[in-house]
Amino acid sequence: MIKKLLAAAATLAAVSVLVFFAFSLIPGDPAVKKLGTQATPEALEMMREKLGLTGPLPLRYLKWVSGFITGDPGVSYSYDMPVAELLGDKLPVTMALVFMAFVILVVISVPLSILHARNEGKRSDRVLLFIGQGIMAVPPFFMGIMLTWFFGIILKVFVPGGYVSYKTDPAGFLAYMFFPALAIALPRIAMTVKLLRAQILKEAREDYVRTAYSRGNSTMAVLYRHVLKNAFIPALTFLSMNLTDMVAGSVVIEQVFGIPGYGRFLLNAILGRDYPVVEAIVMGLAAFILLVNMTADILYRLLDPRI
């Protein structure tokens, strides 16, 4: 356990070195970009001082890392505001979106895959397989466009682009988030169902299942008490991977639905070469991914007594 923690910390440290030096070595001077090419050398020097671009790289790195740990990952070039403050009201938006998508994913795919596996070989099974294969091929952002078109423009269930802030209208916010969350979740539901179905069927062919049957258990008892438990353990890793992928995918979905989450912010920072913002978001994501993987690992150990 402690070894895992240390490994995660080492990885995070390595990522921080890579990120910091990669962005420091990009040609182009942020001070020149901010003040224009006409600026006097003195003004440029002062701006560099202000942006923290003076001094040797390793020292600057240490300053940046210690700032990051204490919750102050620097100041945005384009907004002249602390990155932490800027991110503060954007993160909850993305978190709500991803959380909703994850709930939709689990709520739909678990029962569906059980049903799917129980009907193995029947017509409904084949139809579902076929539909699943089709849905998997739809990129989330095109799914989003189609949902906007169908539910927003034709059926007028929601107003496209009519985002409401969670601060002013929490209910309206959640209602607006439903379709974006669905767009993220749908292709992943297809993938999860496919994997879980295969997993359940694989477990169903194991010896212990035959033993359980021969002891007089009903199919239901075997399915719910034995098979599902074992089938879900490998699915944990898959679900945790889905969670990190959904956080990444929300960058695109936020753009489709006009949601002011971290994704849009990151995108504008990339286009505007606002490196402190990009660095902070990348580091935050790295920490998040490591955290999710570790949590999945711990759950795995708790559920599977063999490890």
Binding site: E120, M146, T148, V251, L267, A269, I270, A286
Partner: protein, 274 residues
């Protein structure tokens, strides 16, 4: 419920899957290849008099918001998307296979360090990696290809490393070493051809992810730059006109879905064959 224990897992014929995928992929490929040779109109030519026009004899699939012929842009865009995806897979596979081969074959400290890096990168969703690399390199089609190619290295490296770990102690490798054949020769001429099927199947899956990644990046506006056309670019331009001209979104979207579907069905068929 008796069916629950049926020994036959999937009766949805594997070869049927491959064949369906092959037909779909060929159709998409034909659209792209035809676009390289000839398009009804120059894909970037604007027709001032016919903005957002519907289907007509002149413009078979109508025009977009700038009066550009949709069919021509669709052909050029599909070509662009497939070309970038191809370049991405080639870059990622060449570099990934090289790293994976050396790591798997030689092992040791190089392998240890390299794999740590690869595993770390692998934990990141590839679209995020691509976003980071694009922000380092800048946007545009060549940069996107490079950024995506690098983002794809980890998965290829891991797969190839695993294969090399298994192959390197097989009899044919042992005997090749005893014959004094150089390590490099064994790696590239003896082992590599033996893992070709694994490479092909991961290339097919990679190609799909690359199509999706290019479309996503261009959709976000940091991939292919205007006036060039690509499926993601077209989808991004269509968003504002969803009310007036939904076909602007649906056409490139459907081509995108079909190209992903075709290759995933093919990959599925190849993988399940053994």
């Amino acid at each position: 419920m008796a069916k629950f224990f049926s020994p036959f897992s999937d009766r949805f014929g594997k070869s049927a899957m491959f064949r369906t995928g092959f037909v779909i992929s060929m159709a998409v490929l034909a659209l792209a290849l035809a676009g390289y040779v000839h398009t009804p109109f120059p894909p970037n030519a604007m027709d001032e008099g016919a903005k957002l026009a519907g289907i007509s004899a002149g413009h078979l699939l109508g025009t977009d918001h700038l009066g550009r012929d949709m069919l021509s842009r669709l052909m050029a865009g599909t070509g662009m998307t497939l070309a970038i995806a191809f370049g991405t897979v080639m870059t990622g596979m060449a570099a990934g296979a090289f790293i994976g081969a050396l790591c798997g074959y030689f092992g040791g400290i190089f392998d240890e360090v390299m794999m740590r890096v690869i595993d770390t990168l692998f934990a990141f969703p590839s679209i995020l990696l691509a976003l980071v690399f694009v922000s380092v390199f800048g946007s545009g089609r060549i940069h996107v290809m490079l950024a995506l190619g690098i983002a794809f290295i980890p998965s290829f490296a891991r797969t190839v490393r695993g294969e090399f770990l298994r192959e390197k102690n097989r009899d044919y490798c042992m005997s090749a070493r005893q014959h004094g054949i150089s390590h490099m020769r064994i790696i590239f001429f003896h082992i590599l051809p033996n893992i070709a099927d694994v490479l092909i199947s991961s290339a097919l899956i990679g190609f799909n992810n690359a199509v999706l990644a290019e479309a996503s990046l261009s959709f976000l506006g940091i991939g292919v730059q205007p006036p060039d056309s690509s499926l993601g670019r077209m989808l991004s331009e269509s968003q504002q006109y969803l009310f007036k001209a939904p076909q602007m979104a649906l056409l490139p979207g459907i081509v995108l879905v079909f190209s992903i579907l075709g290759f995933s069905l093919m990959g599925e068929g190849v993988r399940n064959n053994d």
